[in-house]
Amino acid sequence: MNKIIITVVGKDTVGIIARVCTYLAENGVNILDISQTIVQDYFNMMMIADIAGAKQPFERVAADLEQVGKEIGVMVKCQREEIFTSMHRI
């Protein structure tokens, strides 16, 4: 298991999750958990995914997803899970 956190922030529009999930499916990234909220029309999503079986290395997945985000006008960010577990779990 090699967990990453994908966050998507931006103006809400049709098909944001679909686009991101399509990319992940095509590249062998397994989604473990999804949560989302909408704050004042702003779409805010977080995914926990496993890249252990991914076809691309982490850096490539992160760069590609950033590009996908640009195409649909939202900000997509990939980070390794440890930064969050370090900060929020003892």
Binding site: I5, T7, L32, D33, S35, Q36, T37, N44, M45, M46, I48, F58, E59, A62, K77, C78, Q79, R80, E81, E82, I83, F84, T85, S86, M87, H88, R89
Partner: protein
């Protein structure tokens, strides 16, 4: 499993509150580079640094990408050069040539500062120590990335007043040698009492002789995060205030610990320490002064400033200590004037004076830091200020330091520009009465009675 609120909290800290890791500093021992042949010493130093640290910058950048956390600086500290060059250097110019090699090596591996052009003279000076100290003005004028420090006292040894007097003159000469750049050389020169061996922050970083061959230290930061957290605690009592600071410091330090462990693992260099310092930058919102204002002061320097800073410093340590397996370095709130917009504003509004800053250094790290003073301040007055600050460190068993910039050609109220993270500073007045007869006595001030613990 991590939830969306936790993820958002972390990412807000990074994107909106200036959370970053201030520095990954690789300490490298140069003791094995010593030789009586100067050319050989220089060749060994260059080879060792460029070999050991060749992956430092790319590794730091990879960690930034993986975790999405900015790592502002990648730096190197080395063994005090007075020890390494002692056998080979016959005059100050020989030491200057070593400084130039350090500068080249730093440029080659892509670090913005290299610290350790240093001498440890808390009790006495060897010939090499004195030659190195006398070479500092030219070394800092002729290099871009080299940082220098001199330890002139400690709780165990007392104060070496000969070195204090000499450093007053050296600070002045360094200012003259870099007068065309607002005496920038002095921003890279620190005079210490109780200097730590494992400090990752410049300009005072050096790799102490008690350290391993190479080691990774990390300096965390995050004044902006503390300030935003405290906004939510407005009007609450001290218990709530302290809890808020501790929790925030814990979170910030955990990020530093993660980065340190990753850097250590990837570079195959042992992890040394995390330095738990609140280090400000000139960016708006990244200020220790603003935290003190959020705590309840109209401006830094107002009555209550020392108490507020003492509390802040203590809570940062209490929160940070549990977050890291090894804590060291300076570990405390920094109060540099030129690198903190809130401090600059306080000086401009005459809320903050040199004397109040001195009082503040009694309760926090690290000392009188990045303070511009008039260019015509006598060397003896600078030595007197160094002696005062070192005495605070010696008696209170803590690190203190002085990084004063006598800006040649400028007077009180004028502005000195240092650029980048070093910021800018209004020139502050210095007490005009003389201490010439005091600093000229020669010899040492003995160690205080409470240092005899055996």
């Amino acid at each position: 499993m991590i939830n969306i609120y936790e993820v958002n909290e972390t990412n807000n800290m990074i994107q909106h509150e200036n959370l970053d890791v201030r520095t990954i500093t690789m300490g490298i021992s140069l003791l094995d580079c010593a030789s009586s042949d100067l050319a050989q010493v220089k060749e060994r130093i260059y080879r060792k640094i460029t070999t050991m640290a060749k992956d430092l910058v790319p590794t730091g950048e990879a960690i930034e990408r993986d975790f999405g956390i900015p790592i502002v600086n990648k730096r190197i500290s080395v063994t005090p050069i007075a020890l390494v060059g002692g056998a080979a250097c016959q005059g100050p110019e020989d030491f200057v040539s070593i400084a130039q090699v350090l500068d080249q090596a730093a440029r080659e591996v892509g670090v913005n500062f290299i610290g350790g052009y240093s001498a440890l003279v808390s009790k006495g000076m060897t010939r090499a120590d004195e030659l190195l100290i006398r070479s500092i003005p030219q070394a800092l004028a002729k290099t871009e990335r080299v940082c220098s420090s001199v330890n002139v006292g400690s709780t165990k040894t007392g104060l070496n007043m000969d070195a204090v007097k000499l450093m007053g003159e050296i600070v002045k000469e360094t200012a003259e040698a870099t007068r065309d750049r607002d005496s920038l050389g002095c921003a890279k020169l620190v005079v210490f009492c109780n200097a730590p061996d494992d400090n990752p922050f410049m300009a005072g970083a050096f790799h102490g002789v008690t350290e391993a061959d190479a080691v990774i230290h990390v300096g965390v930061s995050g004044p902006g995060v503390v300030k935003v957290a405290l906004k939510k605690a407005r009007g609450e009592n001290f218990e709530v205030l302290c809890e808020t600071i501790k929790k925030t410091a814990f979170k910030i330090t955990r990020v530093g610990q993660l980065v340190a462990q990753e850097a250590s693992r990837r570079l195959k260099v042992p992890f040394g320490i995390i330095d738990l310092s609140l280090a400000p930058t000139p960016a708006v919102g990244d200020s220790v002064a603003e935290i003190l204002q959020e705590i309840g002061l109209e401006r830094v320097g107002a009555p209550g400033t020392t108490a507020a800073l003492a509390m802040l410093n203590d809570q940062v340590k209490k929160g940070g200590v549990m977050a890291s397996s090894y804590v060291g370095g300076l570990s405390g709130a920094f109060i540099p004037v030129s690198e903190d917009q809130g401090m600059i504003d306080a000086v401009n509004e005459k809320a903050l004076t040199l004397e109040k800053l001195e009082a503040m250094t009694c309760v926090c790290s690290v000392g009188l830091d990045m303070i511009a003073i008039p260019g015509d301040t006598p060397a003896a007055a600078i030595a007197g200020i160094i002696a005062d600050e070192a005495a605070i460190g010696m008696v209170n068993q803590k690190t203190t330091a002085v990084r004063l910039i006598p800006v040649i050609g400028k007077g009180v109220g004028e502005m000195a520009e240092f650029g980048g993270l070093l910021g800018y500073a209004p020139v502050m007045p210095v007490n005009p009465f003389s201490c010439e007869r005091f600093v000229s006595r020669g010899g040492r001030i003995p160690a205080p009675i409470h240092s005899f613990k055996n």
